[in-house]
Symmetry: C2
Subunit: 325 residues, 2 copies
DNA sequence: TTGTAAGCGTTATCAT
DNA sequence: ATGATAACGCTTACAA
């Protein structure tokens, strides 16, 4: 391993000077800078992140915690995180928190022992215990979830999104609209969307019809059947995740109903999976990648974090249409 | 930040002793061990991974490189990696390499500057330049790709899998079987599967019909149409990824053909997406999670790495059936 | 502009 | 069984 002293010797300067050059600090004459750079290239020197981090009490790592790896939503956000991180020369450490954030604490501890620069939480709220485990010196922000506690977060307005989704369907003439919600325990992401749906339905004088799934594909089929059990004549379904939406489309077709001719289906998130059905799923898009990028930018900016609401929009694809006559 | 010296003072011992206790080394009396453990708990001491890593020249981090984040295959492997890593107290650093591994080198460099314990490459082969960038002291292994170069890897027998897939279809009576391959440049994963398919077709005296996609959903529809263009009467399609397989099912239905009554479809990988169509996709399963787990276990075992072939199997779901009369 | 030197928090070696 | 002490490779006052 070639160290800073090796470079210093080779360039005929002190280690301090090498450090200055490597870190692009002010105050080094053109001549020595060149000599040092030459020596660095020559020897193939790379600064030891561990030593640097130990000294500066900070590493260029940002942590990302998500409930599941195979989650399309998390993948999209992570992709944004990675972009922004790489751009700024940061590495990303990744961890899965599992249902109910069971593994979050050990992971945050690890991040702390490595003196990470910041942490982004995907679709989970910043619980007080998280803050406690991570300590006060590492900033943390949550993404893609409505956090009303005042903790830093980036999300869409889930209530308004739920409202807009229902409105979209209502405007197409539907009145018997079923809502396939997420797990009731996921109150932060689920609650506002359900509330928005209810508000729109009430305004329109329509009776709400709500059933709970768990955001996954597997829960979509049974969810639809439950919805149908309560209202066999429904003409539209709003599912609060694309996975459930896709499942609903498939199940509908299996039951011999045409989409969207007999029943319209609207999803949520605009993950790639929404386009992996035929007809492709209409959905409420969140700018997930952008959210991920913004999260690390905020984290690295250094100022007070604050929260940000990004715009959602309903994107019309093939799975929604006018109410059947 | 509470350091090892604080603990030492509190427990009335030397830092060296604290270190011994914390690391569970031999040679400490029961009494002092208890006192130290008490002090640790009391003060909430946590070892600084940076300092430890600097001293030991090694950190408990394993790196994972995958072409894309949103890739279901990579997600499955990563999930196995994470399991095994957490089990052994290792953290996971994650990086996306992009098409043609464009970003691999910087990422490997980072891993090196952090003195990672090992690196797993998902569906990409260990190029000599990777080895060069990473240095010789950090072990590296590739997963889910056939690497014939002798470099350590974990995979299924892709040639045999391609053969078995075609045989499966042949046994159902199909003779006009189209192959939707991956990008021809992905010679390592793609080549063997194509070769296996060709071998089976030749043995059966059937004419091969091969078209290239790029593993993604988007390439599935056009791929099917190309296959149909060459043989409008084909009765089965073998797609070398589930995403393409799902796309083929959807496109077939869009064209008014029933699956599997008119055309059978067989995918590859057995990722969750294979069950997100109706009928669910029959597919050639690779034990992806297990591969990920095995990869880190091998990496951490410390001995010579070697390669391992894990068994594949074709799983029969709803998208394959007997040839139509 | 550059060098000297003192740590950062550990672990490992060598005594005791 | 335990304690001094010297690194590990870097950054950063402070001096020059």
């Amino acid at each position: 391993m070639v160290t800073i002293r090796d470079v210093a010797r080779q360039a005929g300067v002190s280690p301090a000077t090498v450090s200055r050059v490597v870190n692009g600090l002010v105050g080094c004459s053109e001549g020595t800078r060149l000599r040092v750079e030459h020596a660095v290239a020559d020897l193939g020197y790379e600064t030891n992140s561990l030593a640097r981090g130990l000294k500066t009490r900070q590493t260029s790592m940002i942590g990302v915690l998500a409930p599941w790896v195979s989650d399309a939503l998390a993948s999209d956000v992570m992709s944004g995180v990675e972009n922004a991180a790489r751009e700024q020369g940061y590495a990303v450490m990744y961890g899965r928190t599992g249902l109910e954030s069971a593994y979050a604490a050990p992971y945050l501890r690890t991040l702390r022992t490595y003196r990470a620069s910041g942490v982004v939480l995907i679709s989970s709220v910043i619980k007080p215990e998280f803050r406690q485990v991570l300590g006060t010196s590492i900033p943390m922000i949550s993404v893609a979830i409505t956090d009303r506690s005042g903790a830093p977060s980036i999300s869409v307005d889930d209530e308004q999104a739920g409202y807009d989704a229902a409105r979209h369907l209502l405007r197409l003439g539907h009145r018997r609209i079923g809502l396939l919600a997420g797990r009731p325990e996921s109150v932060f992401v689920n609650g506002p969307r359900v509330a928005g749906y209810r508000r729109a339905m009430q305004e329109a004088g329509c009776a709400p019809n709500v059933v709970h799934g768990d955001f996954t594909y597997a829960s979509g089929g049974p969810g639809l059947r439950a919805l149908l059990g309560r209202d066999p004549g429904l003409t539209a379904v709003f599912a609060v995740s694309d996975e459930m939406g896709v499942a609903v489309v498939n199940e509908l077709q299996r039951l011999g109903r045409r989409v969207p001719d007999d029943v319209s289906v609207l999803g949520f998130d605009d993950t790639p999976s929404s386009q992996h059905v035929y007809p492709p799923l209409s959905t409420v898009a969140q700018p997930l990648r952008e959210m991920g990028e913004l999260a690390v930018r905020k984290l690295l900016r250094g100022r007070e974090l604050g929260s940000k609401i990004l715009p959602h929009r309903v994107v019309e694809r093939g799975s929604t249409g006018p109410v059947p006559p």
